[in-house]
Symmetry: C2
Subunit: 320 residues, 2 copies
């Protein structure tokens, strides 16, 4: 019988020695938030900064998981270890919609150099965004050279999370309107590389043309990066090395131009703001309990106090 | 030349005398948040509580706007004034996706007893939820007996906003899987009335059967409300009085059983929590500016301080 380790420092040290279970537990603590997540953040921060993060995003059904799996295989064929975070913010009620992804990535389940982790919302989108940053940092501190972040869905939060990557790959499919949808959802703004997956289907050339046109219209200045468009058929592993070469080309550009450093700075500032917001939310939860809170709520319900004055009253203690 | 009135109290008094422009300005101030929104909240709270709120929600393309327009016409034929809030949280980047709704409701544009207002995210989902509550309260305080709240999209926030209504109508279309989608998106949990709109299309009977089956499986106890299922063809105004009678039946049930009071209490508690969160966010924004913030950020960027310790430092002032 082994004792279940829950101390972040102890887990972190075990994870650094290659203990996969310890790594998984640290990620669970990060997802949960609170003091343990803070302790982990303090441990990982000084050791992070070497990993390169690649985000994959696009509409549900675009084939992102199959593509991610093919990219994993490509990196493994180059001898590189890889870590994957599969994020699903779109499923607040079931929390189980990511099972499919895991199934599709199953082929790598027995490979010790591949680490795949699914994360769901648990009803708190802001929390997920922060947990993603912290999880990336943990995997970075534990020595993963490549971290793939796959996000499902095309809402605001998905775009936000996709933007946490050093290189963001936007996945579309052949077919009228898909490129237009990507534009509408704000994906054009975060794309560093476009992938037309399922390119063996009808309409790939038209989608390529649509994307090129949108890029022509997007008014990039001459020194800016123009996202390359790569066609893949992930199910047949076709085009995967082209995709990876496009990622490497963007990495090269971003490093040389200083864009990578700028992006990481913006991200860190954003994360700091998220940490502060999260801490304030914890504070709010803490405030919204107890006898004083119950009394005040009753007064509001009886129309003796309006909600705004009640909030003022509750916030008095914290200089709000 | 008239002076542009911006004082909430003055605007509120003008709006109470029937000034539609003043009402629109008050809603803009609520959307913007901050001190003016608080002032309006304090003015409206004592005067609110008489309106009945009906939420309409469902997937994009289900025909909610056309249905809303038909419901407006029905209420007008009964001689009742009506106010509509059309909420679109799904469009953070364009902010203009709701134009279509307005076009579809155009037929009521010249009717003084109909008030229609579109609200978009402006990048802050939590803020939209609170602004919806406050806008409902304003329209209530201004004497609207019926407030229709139409939400576009089926994500977590949409379901949350739909839940702000006294009666929530969930709109689906005929076709395999639509009922299943509604279930997956959490809509079954908020539905008081189901509408199968576009019921002249193939598959209406099957969708009805699917919904009935899901309700059979949902383990309602004997005293609970079982959501009726109404078939409509909004474009031809077919089934609209059936729909409205189902809403009235639910209102009757909710009033008699005490469910309406319980719901309103839960909503008010939720709103109070949202107000406190919002105030803390404002506080965070206020904290995250200035020289001290700049210095601290630089220290984090230079890896001299980790983000969590930096947050602690920033929050010292508010007992965080």
């Amino acid at each position: 019988m082994t004792r279940r380790v829950t101390d972040p420092a102890e887990l972190f040290s075990a994870a650094r020695s290659g203990d996969r279970l310890a790594r998984a537990r640290l990620l669970s603590l990060i997802e949960r938030g609170g003091d343990d997540a803070r302790a982990i953040g303090r441990l990982t921060y000084p050791l992070s900064g070497s990993a390169y993060t690649v985000g994959l995003t696009g509409a549900p059904g675009a084939g992102k998981s199959t593509l991610t799996s093919a990219v994993i295989a490509h990196l493994r064929s180059l001898g590189s270890p890889v870590a994957v975070l599969a994020i699903d913010p779109s499923s607040p009620f079931t929390g189980g919609a990511i099972l499919g992804d895991r199934v599709r990535m199953q082929e790598h389940a027995t490979d010790d150099e591949v680490f795949i982790r699914s994360m769901a919302t648990r009803g708190h989108l802001g929390g997920l965004s922060l947990a993603t940053s912290e999880s990336i940092r943990l995997l970075d501190a534990l020595g993963s050279p490549w971290i793939l972040v796959e996000t499902v869905g095309v809402g605001q939060v998905e775009v936000e999370i996709a933007g946490k990557a050093d290189t963001t790959v936007v996945v579309v499919n052949p077919g009228w309107g898909d490129a237009v949808q990507a534009n509408k959802a704000g994906l054009m703004e975060v794309a560093d590389v476009f992938v037309i997956n399922k390119s063996d289907r009808k309409g790939a050339a038209e989608t390529q043309r649509d994307l090129e046109q949108m890029l022509d219209l997007s008014d990039l200045d001459a020194s800016a990066w123009r996202p390359p468009i790569v066609q893949t058929t992930a199910t047949a592993s076709t085009g995967i090395s082209d995709l990876w070469n496009a990622v490497l080309a963007h990495r090269e550009f971003a490093s040389q131009s200083g864009e990578l450093g700028r992006r990481r700075t913006v991200r860190l500032r954003e994360e700091l703001r998220e940490i502060i917001e999260r801490r304030l939310e914890d504070k709010a939860r803490e405030l919204c309990t107890g006898t004083r809170w119950d009394t005040l709520q009753d007064e509001v319900l009886e129309h003796r106090v309006d909600p705004w004055s009640a909030a003022d009253e509750m916030l008095k203690g914290i200089g709000g």
